[in-house]
Amino acid sequence: MTTLAESPPVGDLRYSEVEEDLRAAVRALLDRRAGWQDVLARTETAEPVDRALWRTLAAELGCAALPVAEELGGAGASWREAAVVAEELGRAVAPVPFLGCSVATALLLAVGERDLLAGLAGGDRIVALAVPAASAPGEPLVPLAVDADRISGDVPGVLDAAAADVLLVPAGGALYALDVTDPGVRVTPAVSLDMTRPIADVTLDAATGRRLATGAVVADAVAAAQRIGAVLLAAEQLGVARRCLDEAVAYLRDRHQFGRPLGSFQALKHRAADLAVLITQACAVARYAADCAATGASDLPVAAALAQAHLSPTALRAAQECLQLHGGIGFTWEYVVHLFLKRATSQAIVLGTADRHRAALGELLGVPGPEETS
């Protein structure tokens, strides 16, 4: 037991008034501009990402760069507030590049790149980190060839790349910024299981990169940025899970079978209750991770892995139960539920599946596996 670290302090896990105000503002905007019918309809258009909505979120509400200092064009808040925004975006499965841009923000902050940050903050430029979306923090990077700052190779399944203006590419031990208009850059949107969060394949053929950083700092900064992504993703998953529970509860109250509201049937009621219990826990976990990110706590790696290990199955179960509790109508295209099922499914894979985060926790906490000595 001596290998286990001391108990880290637990910060404030509640929502502050400022955070609740921010939530209300974001929700009001999304209610107006991203109702689920809008979101569903957009998935079959040529522009699955809603850039106009993103610009409004960034410019009017300052959501694109909450943790960026005001002198760098940001809102001077922290990742806690960003997590509240992520909850609301999850709740609406809003088709905006918040997650990818937040990872990029964290990375640019880490390497001290100011120009791109300013563009990001205003919502004018979408920046994405060119790694496969399923990579967990710290996983080996896709090897790319670099020749005099010209980069070649394939990066499949990149988050928020389809709408990106700039790609951040770790290659050859350095970090580069690549403009997607460069003739050596090809971004091919993939048909994504989660239609509201399309991934895209990036092919680089001697693309011109602007070098932002070099050396061991790059791999660490990429992992740290992915960790911030994991924290925000957990908040987004919390939003999805809550919305699924709300939808299920509304249906169970409303729908009658056998002369009674469905929700009066004990088995269904208990399943909804189990979900509510799980989500109560998930809220505390997600808030802890957001607070660790905001304060730069040394427990952040644990908190981020914990958040993903807990929230991925929670959101997925909430979405799956939501569909099942709806019965036949839950399986139809012209209904709200599948948007959340698909989002929760992609969330469970993006930035590493729960089992990978549990394995990471084993290492961080010193809980050795079968082959290791303690």
Binding site: T43, E44, P132, A133, A134, P156, G157, A190, V191, S192, L193, D194, M195, I199, H256, Q257, F258, G259, R260, A267, L268, L316, Q320, L323, Q324, G327, G328, I329, G330, F331, T332, W333, E334, V337, H338, L341, K342, T345, S346, A348, I349, V350, T353, A354, D355, R356, R358, A359, G369, P370
Partner: protein, 406 residues
Amino acid sequence: MTAVSSGPEQAAAGPGGSEVLDRVREFLVGHPTAGADRLAFLRARFDAGLARVDLPPGQGGLGADRDLQAVVEDELRAVGAPEHRPSDNPIGHGMAGPTLRAFGTDEQCRRWLRPLWTGEEAWCQLFSEPGAGSDLAGLATRAVREGDEWVVHGRKVWTSLADRARWALLVARTDPSVPKHRGLTYFVCDMHAAGVEVRPLRQITGETEFNEVVLDGVRIPDTDRVGEVGQGWAVAQGTLMNERVSYTSGTAPRHSGGIGALLAAWHDHPERRTAGLHDRVLSLWVQAEAARLTTARWEQELARGRPGPEGSAIKLEHARLNQEISQVELEVLGDAGLRYPDYSERAPEPVPWTEAAPGWRYLRSRANSIEGGTSEILRTVVGERVLGLPPEPRIDKDVPFSELPR
């Protein structure tokens, strides 16, 4: 002691194995397989009682032991006879056939069973409605008698194969003034009749596998009623029981179905392996193998004429496992698990389960716990009919349908 046999307790009154074999050989003399027209051959086979030997004469059988069907199949396969393909008409074979045999008149059996068996006429079912899913007895489609006909108005959903079915099993309300279970009547509905409109419904897979069927003044002759007026609930229960325990076609080999696809993904993606995922894959293998053996055991019991309670259990586990396995497969695939082949609206192509895309299997499997009786209804069936637990107090059983809150 370990060989599968029908046992002495099943000494059938009908013809024995050698007699059945004689009938097949006799039949083949009159109907050589070389250059045979498939449909003509199948019709003649039905008439000769070689469609399913355990059924009575006249219904495609000989009244023989169920096990002896294997004798027929082996012999016909050996001579390369035209194939019978029951999977082309699943609702016909799984639901319409048993229902007609149990509740239909002789005339109805004569008219429908042969083209059903040969596959000439496909069937679908018109049971569920937007307001009546699990609570089937709450359905609102009305059938009003006019002379020798019934005039039907209503809307049915969750209907597969409606676009290519010739006939439909239909339950409609013929008397709203009595409690809901007592006012239903069962019909066969001609899908080519005036007033039948089939509208594709799009599902979460993007496809239009199921349909909405609108019945707008459809006229059904009273001779196409199955069972007595007001007995529709009992007949429908028989149909659904058959759906839930529908015939399977032999024990699948180990690693067939979803678990095989999962293991293939596991082998193909060494970079995605973690200890936790490894244990989860093995745990699913254990559950899949248990499900396979359960089906095998149930078929052995069926062959002895003693089906156990496994029918509902098999359906429940099948749904749960399909869902879990396909989910873990996406997690094993990682980046590939984030992709989908095609969401554009279209009628589905029938593809073997393991040849479909992983994402499609994942989404499609969500319906497994809803279609053909939700898992919730099946758990109640197991609890009450298998374990004998008491029903819930009902507030909707003695009230006239027309007075129920809906």
